[in-house]
Symmetry: C3
Subunit: 296 residues, 3 copies
Amino acid sequence: MFTIKDLEKAMGYTVQCMGDPAQIAFDNVKSVEEANQHSLCWIAERNSESTTLFETCKANTIICSNKFQYHTFPNKVLIPVENPRLSFLQIVRSLFTKPIEFGIHPTAQIHKEARLSDKISIGPFSVIGNCSIGENVVIESNCHIHDDVIIGNHVHIMSNTNIGGNGFGYERNDKKEFEFFPHVGTVIIEDHVDIGANTCIDRGTLGATHIKSGSKIDNLVHIAHNVVIGRHCAVIAHAMIGGGTTIGDYCWIAPNAVLRDGLKIGDHAVVGIGALVLKDIPAGETWIGSPAKKYK
Amino acid sequence: MFTIKDLEKAMGYTVQCMGDPAQIAFDNVKSVEEANQHSLCWIAERNSESTTLFETCKANTIICSNKFQYHTFPNKVLIPVENPRLSFLQIVRSLFTKPIEFGIHPTAQIHKEARLSDKISIGPFSVIGNCSIGENVVIESNCHIHDDVIIGNHVHIMSNTNIGGNGFGYERNDKKEFEFFPHVGTVIIEDHVDIGANTCIDRGTLGATHIKSGSKIDNLVHIAHNVVIGRHCAVIAHAMIGGGTTIGDYCWIAPNAVLRDGLKIGDHAVVGIGALVLKDIPAGETWIGSPAKKYK
Amino acid sequence: MFTIKDLEKAMGYTVQCMGDPAQIAFDNVKSVEEANQHSLCWIAERNSESTTLFETCKANTIICSNKFQYHTFPNKVLIPVENPRLSFLQIVRSLFTKPIEFGIHPTAQIHKEARLSDKISIGPFSVIGNCSIGENVVIESNCHIHDDVIIGNHVHIMSNTNIGGNGFGYERNDKKEFEFFPHVGTVIIEDHVDIGANTCIDRGTLGATHIKSGSKIDNLVHIAHNVVIGRHCAVIAHAMIGGGTTIGDYCWIAPNAVLRDGLKIGDHAVVGIGALVLKDIPAGETWIGSPAKKYK
């Protein structure tokens, strides 16, 4: 059972409670609806509904927002914080997740000249080409990391994902048949990048496809050859980024967004869900629709 | 060569034929265009075209609709039924498909504490975490079923599919960098659910992502954390269901439909092909378009 | 270091240079921006920008278009050709790519009755059913080629791709529950077809799903049961082709295009990026938008 001490250690500072901190005792995290007495919960906002939530929630320990005044609830300890969701996730990460078990699964196929750090976890049936992989990297099962790919530190790649495969580069010859343009470029994945399952990131035709530090890619995303994704971007499920498109820092590419090839997307841009982007987007703008236009 | 006896056994009742039942002799099922003399075929509707189909089809045994009057065709036996397609599939399933061969492929990686029934088929290179799997379940090759997932009976999961991976849960911190929200929830797959290839079903953040009994999921579908899909729904290729969205029973989610997070879709709702759904859909309504609106 | 002789051998004819052919010396291919002295580069068009490109590019050997007049650049050799991109790719393919290493990886699971040519490369963890595969075929890792599939010669299939799985064929019975329509058809892949990663091509219900010679399919594409794709077509990332749709020869299906089931798309048709196609497209037309309409 975790107590106020574990909670403060996870949060990194002394918390101010409403209620008796000695009453804090939890061994699980649940949603408000599913909580039992020994759950830790969080309630983000205060409105007429949230007051009811505090009353009906069975958990005796609740993270809440410090922006509101609450009355005390019998047998409950409230912990008001600046960002309830963020504090909650820090606690969950600290107390309820297992550390990475480093090691290469015996079935994984590793190229004999691959340059891998010792602090790496590679799952069953993954195929690692002649590439370079840093520290604290997890590659789940059935992935294919092709030759020449460079992966930094603190990277997590989920199952069945392909990085560094040939891009879709064909040129019709004079018989209108396709000739394949061999891809001699690579893929660079910087630090703190997460990549979902069944996602494809193609190698550059000549230069590199480049995912910069802190960016997070979801499941079933297609990132074509020579795309550049800036730092701390999110690219969400089923998004498609066309060849050579460059995305700035801190962008948000919503699910099923489609960005044609060769675009420039400025820093802090937001592309809406299902948007079809056919033009460059200036920094800081939000574009939605099909074809996408600036959201007023 | 199958005869009238096999056919009646497969259909479960005594059939009324037009033509001599003793003439029924088939050893294959084909489309009308590709049929030979010993094919079993079906023709659904009657119109000027279908009359020609009966004449040109080479099969001597044809399932057809009992809603129409037909004249007899020389050397052909017609079997009029209520739903020709359904009767045909029952015969195909009964006479032309192999029973499941139970067994776990020696290459599959099974967690030592996984709770698996004896009547299960797990294909090569699949990774089964510490989860629970019922009877008459087929998991094809190169799948990843993560820890904590609960799978019922009569479930079929095609190759390269991921169930129970972490959802895309990130919160920007005060430096605008992403913090990962660890996912401690799970996925529940009820009985008689089929799941296609290269599909991803993420675990719940805290509670469960839940696919209820009889629902069918196609290839390359993304189902985010905490989605609930009701009973007897179809979710077709490339559909994307955003986090926390709840879909009722008997719904039809057409290919490439995109449902944003947090929606409520009522029972018997239909979402059209390529629809972008941004609002709740009341029960029984059909919504199409981008953004989706009620179809009059 | 490659010289004029290697270059002419790769191109198959004697080239006309602007500058001294004896100066040609390259050991790598790069983009114009990343080139060093010993790079081979190509510049396609001539405009005010391209003149600057010729000056700033550090490569001493540049493939360019024979449609324009250039002045000479010191220390550079220009090679004017009809189609610079095509000539460049022929050189890259000839000089910078490795030949296929034939062989079946020891981990691959091959059906004992599969009919495979000797000149085949099958990667780790791929599962090959009772099917037929021709010469000069590469199947990368973690693929599943189901029973009955027929694959021709010079075919390349990237990782985590599924060919010949059951299509999504369900019929609601009188309880509104789904009955599965067993798929007893197959998939035929003709010569010179390339298929990307994490793509699904379902088998026909009764007849065949058919990809004709020279067509190229990208990553994360869904091709449903009984689709026919003509010769020399491109089907690009995240496209979805509904069941039974027939596509003619020389078509271009752009990324994220969605084609409903049962359509007929004529030869040389172009479907735009993100287009939602609900009607037949006559030969030679370009359709864009959602729903797609003819582009004037």
